[in-house]
Structure formats: C-alpha cells, structure tokens
Amino acid sequence: AQSVAQPEDQVNVAEGNPLTVKCTYSVSGNPYLFWYVQYPNRGLQFLLKYITGDNLVKGSYGFEAEFNKSQTSFHLKKPSALVSDSALYFCAVRDMDNTGKLIFGQGTTLQVKP
C-alpha cells in the first residue's frame, strides 16, 4: 500500500532562515508526490508536485521540493522563511489505483518566529 510519512509534528525556524519540512514515501512504481499547505481555518492550497522530470521542483510562494529516489524522500524547502509561512503542511502521494485519490501524511506544523 502507498503511504507517506512526515516524521516531524512541528518545525520551528527563525524568520529569514532556511526551512525544511521532511517527507518520505513508500510506493510501488513511480510516485506522484504533492505538497499542500493549510492555513488556520482554511482549505488546502496546492504548493507543488513531482510527476516526472527534474528532481528539484519549484512551486508557489518560493517553495521547492527535492525528489530523492534513493532515499524515498520529497522534502519541502524554502531558502528564507517568512512569518506568514507559518501553517500546516501536508505531503501526499497519489494512489496507484487510478482513482486519483491522495494519501496524505500526518501533517507538519511550521512555526516561523520573527
């Protein structure tokens, strides 16, 4: 069965510092991987996806993620964090059953302090 894991419940960084939110995956075959962000009391917003191609994927709001097949990871990164980046981040993998449904990680709360 496909799955993703986000090993950190919370990540704290200072504004201006680089940030990393970790995600590892377990799939049979080539994964379709996604990052979503959820601001308080809001829906999920799409950040970026990896389907194929370059391992470094650039997304919205200055975020990027690196697909690493050997480490089965898809960590989310940003060179310089903003206080407004504070939110709940979800990594997801598309299930291989062709329904298109997403399997989500448990979420990581990012707290950026001024």
Binding site: Y32, F34, Y36, Q38, R42, G43, L44, Q45, F46, K49, I51, L88, F90, R94, T99, G100, K101, L102, I103, F104, Q106, G107
Partner: protein, 110 residues
Amino acid sequence: DTAVSQTPKYLVTQMGNDKSIKCEQNLGHDTMYWYKQDSKKFLKIMFSYNNKELIINETVPNRFSPKSPDKAHLNLHINSLELGDSAVYFCASTLNNEQFFGPGTRLTVL
C-alpha cells in the same frame, strides 16, 4: 470566482439528526472527492465520483451517502449523526494530477 465551493462552512447539530453538505466545482473537472479531517488534522479519503459514478468508497459507514446530480456537484448526506462525525469535511476536484480543495465544512455534533 471560487473554484470549489462548499456550503455550509459551519454546521452545528445534535446527535441523531440528518444533515447535508453541498459541494460545487466550476472547473469542468470530471472527478470529485470527499475527504475527512479529524481532530488531529489527519486527512483521509471518503468517497470519489467520476462523471457522476462512484469510484471510491473507503469503508465509510453507510450513514454517509454521497450524491452527484451532475459532474459539477458532489453532495454528502449524513444520517443519524454521531459525536465521532465531528470533523472538517473537504470536497475536492481533480484535473491533470492536481487536486483543488474547497474551503471545508466544520461539522460539530453535540
């Protein structure tokens, strides 16, 4: 224009009642989903419809009944509400591997 909309945004009701949540997407997508986010923020698929046909039913109690009158709408009806149904319910639609989510409906069962 809102791409995926849900009504109501908040729903507070008593145990045992029956309630519905509506979802509409104006993106022309064929596939729509319902996800449930529990109190620990964990997100899990409930149902999916493709062009008005049910394609996913993830062991959800049969008190939950989705209905898709057309491919732009996927409504969720819940009978005999229980305390454990309290959650945020998200509707989504998909095209080209990207899912677009609605703003969510926070259901509180008292």
